[in-house]
Point group: C2
Chain length 211, copies 2
DNA sequence: GGCTTAAGTGTACAGCTGTACGCTGGATTG
DNA sequence: CAATCCAGCGTACAGCTGTACACTTAAGCC
């Protein structure tokens, strides 16, 4: 029961995971990656792969799950930063952009498999993003007094804008990245301000919606 | 010079293009499509493919260009609808969603290759979307009196939200699609309203930005 | 200390891929 | 009419893929 065996197994399992992540890049996606390629990179025989995963799809789903863990720890970090410093929007964007810069490959994985070939992948990524939206929605509903629907609509918009900015930042030179970041921040402000106004509006039973 | 020959050539060229488009679906992307597959579907020998395109990438770029044509005709249509009926946001979303529903495969192509493996593809798609942003930006700047920067920032946000909604609509049942459409419209309203407010704000030299 | 279990190996095979090459037959040209 | 061109074909080949199968060898167990 000491687990010399189990320990070694876990070690090569991690080697496989790391090999797959390492091979991700702008010019190499997970779906274009072969089982043999991963095995080669991990330093094992192709057939040994099966001792750890049923097939490449199973490995991919594991990667998505792992990236979910990373993302959620990121969110917790952002929240504590907000509680210390205040500015929700600025902090969120900074934190997210930091994540994209530090984990471009994980982000690329999510980005690509979100619209990829495998239904299981698409679902897994969609679930991660949905988490993101819901957590932000809860936070917003609690801070201001939006209705649940309004909070979710706003949160969804914010997440969409930030996520997309991250995607564009990936391929951008550092100087243009700052401009993008600024535009994104403005867009988030517009959205938040509009939501607030519309909320007050509803409360007063007036309508700006026709505008 | 009558062109029986050239005519036939154009015909099989179109057959190739149509074969590629027809084979696109939720579970089959362009990048996962082989040259032989396209040739089979088009009813020609694999090697005949080379009489028309250098390789699959060249065919892909052609498809992206064609989709650009479709998109731009779409925009013109939307604009004339707006001039007749008025509501910018509602009309834009309706038109775009109609496009996505009628040309899911073209939209999938753009969506996937935007984050794909090939730099040429990514650039081509980015250029199409940039067109979109710029045309909308011009339109906004002309209708209201935003500064060019503000107009572009707003346009970019709007395009991002609509494009993403289209992507999500692809995999959604019809009943949930309506809810998504409604949320998207609200988000666009928030964004537009916030931009307007912020613009007036700037003009008066006050600041809501700290909010 | 012997028996069992299982992670990792090497070989093998069928099926797919892109594409080089030489040919054919009908349209085009002079 | 004869000469040329060229879209489309069939064959061929090397290189890659996933994975079935039988094996070794070291750890775990009684």
């Amino acid at each position: 029961m000491s687990g010399t065996r189990a320990l070694q197994k876990e070690k090569t399992r991690q080697a496989i995971i790391q090999a797959a992540l390492a091979h991700l890049s702008a010019d190499h996606s997970f779906s274009s990656m072969s089982l043999r390629e991963v095995a080669r990179e991990a330093g094992i025989a192709p057939t040994s792969f099966y001792r750890h995963f049923d097939d490449m799809e199973a490995l991919g789903l594991t990667l998505v799950d792992e990236s979910g863990v990373t993302l959620r720890s990121l969110m917790r970090k952002a929240r504590s930063r907000i509680e210390r410093k205040g500015s929700v929007i600025q902090t969120s964007v900074d934190t997210f952009m930091e994540f994209v810069e530090k984990n471009p490959n994980i982000f690329r994985l999510l980005l690509r498999e979100r619209t990829g070939i495998s239904p299981a992948f698409r679902d897994a990524v969609a679930r991660e993003i949905q988490h993101f939206k819901e957590e932000l929605s809860d936070y917003l509903a609690q801070e201001s007094d939006y209705t649940p629907d309004q909070a979710f609509t706003l949160a969804e918009g914010l997440v969409t804008l930030v996520f997309n900015a991250g995607a564009e930042a990936l391929d951008l030179a550092a100087d243009k990245r700052d401009a993008l970041k600024e535009r994104t921040i403005m867009q988030l402000r517009y959205l938040t301000f509009g939501a607030k106004a519309c909320h007050l509006d509803d409360a007063l039973n007036v309508s700006i919606k026709a505008s």
